[in-house]
């Protein structure tokens, strides 16, 4: 495992319509570290996540994933290293059956049939959804879909997990079991969320973003205690 799987230096990104989404973001994540990315809507969190996978490419600055610079030449390697889980599972689960979806990444890595089956089973085991192999994604509940969506990237055996709003739209029980699942996963993780209670419970380090910049970066306990900081950036301090 690389000592610093995610390295972001002075990243600047502007959408084609001129909107400056990232204005010089610098961030480094250590191996095995789990960090929270918080901030108001439109702060640039989702844009940053898409950069990690090379889906959006910056106008200036650089990103390294496990020592590989994210550029067109390394794109296929980088995408195998970074497992990106989107907010809406209906966007992530595009295949007719759960098996097809979880096997998608491994098939693109050109693995053998046996290895693909092994990976699919291991990924479904990891999210405790082994029995769902032959199911149709459409008929699952939101919580089940979220788990399968995570399995679809686990089957690629990524070094880094990147999740966009994993607990959004879940009922308390599904949210609780998802948090327990995230706790079990050993990978380095970057989680963009508004769920500060989950952040406090699960993620030791928090990065606050606003207006395309990193406003604060430090231990979660310290950042969540700074009520003025949270209020200034569209967040709300936890009551207890």
């Amino acid at each position: 495992m690389h000592h610093s799987p995610v390295l972001i230096e002075n990243l600047v990104f502007r959408y084609p319509d001129g909107h400056a989404a990232l204005q010089g973001v610098t961030l480094s994540v250590a191996a095995g570290e789990k960090i929270a990315l918080v901030g108001p809507n439109g702060a640039g969190k989702s844009t940053l996540l898409l950069q990690l996978n090379g889906i959006l490419t910056p106008q200036s600055g650089r990103i390294e994933i496990c020592g590989l610079e994210v550029n067109p030449k390394n794109l296929a390697r980088v995408r195998a290293l970074v497992g990106l889980v989107f907010q809406l599972p209906d966007d992530q689960l595009f295949s007719p059956t759960v098996y097809d979806d979880v096997a998608f990444g491994p098939i693109y890595q050109g693995l053998t049939r046996e290895e693909i089956d092994r990976r699919v089973e291991a990924a479904l085991d990891a999210v405790h959804m082994r029995d769902y192999l032959k199911r149709t994604s459409y008929h699952l509940s939101v919580g089940e879909k979220k788990r399968i969506a995570i399995a679809t990237v686990l089957s690629m055996q990524p070094e880094v997990l990147v999740l966009d709003e994993p607990t959004a739209g879940l009922d308390p029980r599904a949210r609780r079991s998802l948090i327990e699942l995230l706790r079990e996963l050993p990978q380095t993780a970057i989680i963009a969320t508004h769920d500060l209670a989950m952040v406090r419970e699960l993620l030791p380090r928090t990065v606050v973003m606003d207006g395309g910049r990193v406003i604060a970066d430090g231990p979660t306990a310290q950042i969540l205690a700074d009520e003025a900081l949270l209020e200034a950036h569209g967040l709300e301090a936890l009551k207890c």
Binding site: I55, R79, P96, D100, G105, I107, Q109, Y138
Partner: protein, 267 residues
């Protein structure tokens, strides 16, 4: 959920027909339809033979004979297209009608032609209905790929099937949202003018299209994130069992024999 259930013809089951490999069912269904379309007109015993085949397969599939026959009524509109044949084929006159000043002559050969076409389209639809009711779409796609359907086409059909349900749900939510705000005051007529309502419906269709476009963008992004590079890849199929090959060969042979029989009857 309700949307999906009324959309898919598939009825889950564990009958012999359900268990049969889709790579046997799909080619046999296609061969059946092809055989039916090659049959000459007016070979009634052969039609009855084929009807016995589809009905016994339907009975074996345990999907319920009534439901099977109801679904096969889908063939009716096709038969309607053949209706003019009743009056346009020359031959001995059976009856004459007068309609809007037009004299129509019902001819014997016309009647045979029309009835044959109606029965043949009904039989073809029966075969298709039976296959669709006993084969889930992912399996059907596998079978089509085994029949050398281009992968891209198979992938597009798969995506369409997957998102059809999502779209129907989305449309359902839009309709519900409109319904929820379509109240009326006491004594006043409900709903605005026709033009206004048409504009609302147009806006809904437009927003459904936009949402689908945006979703397709997000789906594409999700595919890219997992390594998609523009080429559709899929797993090789497991080999077909000897028994399945046997059933396929026997079925094709039977259909060839029936075709031969019908030709012999005409000659």
């Amino acid at each position: 959920m309700s949307g999906a259930n009324s959309l898919t013809p598939f009825l889950a089951g564990s009958s012999l027909i359900h268990a049969l490999d889709a790579r046997v069912k799909v080619p046999l269904t296609l061969a059946f339809i092809l055989t039916v379309s090659f049959l000459p007109f007016g070979v009634w015993p052969v039609y009855v033979l084929l009807l016995a085949l589809t009905v016994s397969a339907a009975l074996l599939s345990e999907i319920g004979l009534a439901r099977f026959l109801r679904r096969s009524l889908l063939a009716l509109p096709f038969a309607l297209a053949a209706l003019p044949l009743l009056f346009t084929i020359p031959g001995e006159a059976l009856a004459r009608f007068s309609l809007f000043g037009l004299t129509l002559t019902l001819s014997g050969p016309g009647l045979v032609r029309f009835a044959s076409i109606a029965v043949k389209s009904w039989l073809s639809v029966q075969a298709a209905v039976l296959m669709a009711a006993t084969t889930d779409l992912p399996e059907m796609l596998l079978a089509l790929r085994a029949l050398k359907l281009p992968r891209l086409l198979a992938a597009v059909i798969g995506l369409m099937w997957r998102y059809l349900f999502v779209l129907v749900d989305e449309a359902g939510r839009l309709l519900r949202a409109r319904e929820a705000r379509s109240g009326s005051r006491e004594g006043a007529p409900r709903g605005g003018g026709l033009a206004w309502r048409a504009r609302v419906a147009g806006g809904m269709a437009g927003s459904l299209l936009l949402r689908s476009l945006e979703r397709s963008d997000r789906v594409y992004t999700a595919m890219l994130a997992r390594g998609y590079d523009g080429e559709v890849r899929s797993l090789p199929h497991p080999p077909l069992s000897a028994r399945a090959w046997g059933i396929l060969a026997a079925g094709l042979l039977l259909l060839a024999l029936i075709l031969f029989l019908s030709r012999w009857m005409v000659a």
